[in-house]
């Protein structure tokens, strides 16, 4: 892929993109529809901002890059622009949808590629818009959200699934700081072992515990340390590790 000026898909382009994604299940996937990205019958010019074919180590790098890309734009417009996110998803398709064994593609649910901009719960499933929005909420110190942003860009991750779909959690700076302190390992730049599981101390359990705390505590009033201090013993293995 070469450098391109930023564009957005038209309705026709989004339909063609959907058809392409639907056709990827077989043994012989069709050729990548490059024309959607450049042909004015499928996409519109947005700005002179150039997008370049980068390799992103993790969602943090990706979201940081996108945040820089949109530095001149209105955040509300960016977040709600379905065509823009679709165009970017196709541009970075190779990274977002690496081939499986045997050469097959497995693009997964539509929401990963075409953002559902009216649905906060599913918006986060979009592989680009989801991390961008987490980064944007914490743009004053995005490292605070490393536990959610340290994973590969082609995988959503359990923490994003459990926390990012709920606005009162993902916008809570102290809570997200506590989550990163709990699960993120700064030395390896990855989440700690077990941070993606289902058992004791896992993100799924954390989401349940947060629901219980919500009955007794105003979570927005708590500092990260105050929140960590409330967690039951099952989280100690992450706190002390």
């Amino acid at each position: 892929m070469e450098k391109m000026r930023l564009r957005k898909l038209k309705e026709t382009g989004i339909m063609k993109m959907g058809d392409y994604l639907d056709s990827l299940g077989g043994d012989k996937p069709p050729a990548f529809p490059l024309e959607i990205l450049t042909d004015s019958s499928f996409s519109d010019f947005v700005s002179d901002v150039e997008v370049e074919p980068r390799k992103f180590r993790n969602k943090y790098e990706l979201a940081s890059y996108l945040h820089g890309l949109f530095s001149e734009a209105s955040p509300a417009d960016v977040v709600a622009d379905t065509g823009l996110w679709c165009w970017l998803s196709l541009y970075f398709f190779e990274q977002l949808c690496p081939r499986e064994r045997g050469g097959r593609f497995k693009p997964g649910a539509r929401a990963r590629w075409i953002p559902e901009v009216d649905n906060f719960q599913r918006y986060y499933r979009h592989l680009l818009a989801g991390p961008y929005r987490v980064f944007f909420f914490h743009r004053d110190r995005p490292e605070r959200a490393m536990a959610l942003l340290c994973g590969e860009i082609c995988k959503q991750g359990d923490l994003i699934e459990q926390l990012a779909s709920r606005q009162e959690l993902i916008t809570n700076k102290h809570l997200i700081e506590a989550v990163t302190s709990l699960y993120f390992d700064r030395e390896s730049d990855r989440n700690k072992r077990g941070a993606g599981g289902k058992g004791a101390g896992s993100p799924r359990r954390l989401a349940e515990v947060i629901d219980q705390f919500n009955l007794t505590w105003d979570l927005y009033s708590l500092t990260a340390n105050e929140f960590l201090g409330l967690l039951p013993a099952e989280f100690d293995r992450f706190k002390n590790n």
């Binding site: 509300a76 559902e116 901009v117 009216d118 649905n119 906060f120 719960q121 779909s165 709920r166 606005q167 009162e168 916008t171 009955l215 007794t216 505590w217 105003d218 979570l219 927005y220 009033s221 708590l222 105050e226």
Partner: protein, 236 residues
């Protein structure tokens, strides 16, 4: 607590005004008060001063919402000293009124919201039942009030809600203002529906039978068959 709130849609700019009186609860005067607006997973929080003088301290625009449909509010008062952050008082699931509602005291138990999706309708149970109608299918107001939708979809919606009440692990509490109670009070108002059976595994069949009875009564009460037949005959 006394709460009066109005939500407004001024050419797409959504906002609310709330007047809150917490003076009868003996809350520490300097405890911080907050108002939260929410629907499904969308959520906004507003600093509302202190328990002694609750008033908006920030912009009251509901910029995180695309429409006023189904928005609910909660008021929280938290402890500021001692056990910092502990909740001292909460009022939840508060329905606002809009200027168009006038003095109507009827409470809507099924808010309707437009959603980008490929099926015509579905129910969302994130907080309380919300009827989602596909934007691709057309106006939610026209569709949800149409004869076709009322006769074909609403009986299924009622059935799904009643089964969700059971699946949610709900336990009947007389004075609770939960969405489950509101729906069960609605069912109690229908003729020829017996008392709701328990949720035990042994009671599975009797609960399903009770749901059937409730849906049948609902259809009779709204003359669903007559309405549907007269419409289809008129179409021929």
């Amino acid at each position: 607590m006394t709460w009066e709130s109005v939500v407004r849609d001024n050419n797409g700019i959504l906002s609310f005004d709330a007047s809150i009186d917490l003076s009868h609860y003996g809350l520490p005067l300097e405890s911080p008060a907050y108002v939260e607006a929410y629907r499904q997973t969308a959520w906004m929080r507003f600093d509302y001063g202190t328990a002694s003088a609750p008033e908006a301290k920030t912009d009251n625009r509901l910029s995180g919402f695309d429409s006023l449909d189904g928005i609910r509010f909660r008021v929280k008062v938290a402890q500021s000293d001692g056990t910092h952050g502990k909740l001292l008082a909460v009022a939840d699931k508060i329905c606002p009124v809009s200027p168009e509602d006038g003095d109507s005291q009827r409470q809507c138990i099924l808010p309707v919201k437009s959603e980008e999706m490929d099926c015509i309708w579905k129910l969302d149970f994130e907080n309380e039942p919300i009827l989602l109608i596909s934007k691709k299918a057309g106006s939610k107001d026209i569709i949800s009030k149409s004869m076709e939708f009322r006769t074909l979809a609403y009986p299924s919606i009622l059935r799904e809600v009643l089964h969700e009440i059971k699946n949610s692990g709900y336990e009947w509490k007389e004075d609770e203002d939960s969405w489950q109670n509101q729906w069960l009070k609605f069912i109690n108002g229908l003729p020829s529906v017996g008392e709701m059976p328990g949720f035990s595994d042994e009671g599975q069949d009797s609960y399903c039978q009770w749901v059937d009875d409730a849906v049948e009564s609902f259809c009779r009460n709204l003359r669903i068959i007559d309405t549907f037949v007269s419409y289809t005959e008129g179409e021929e």
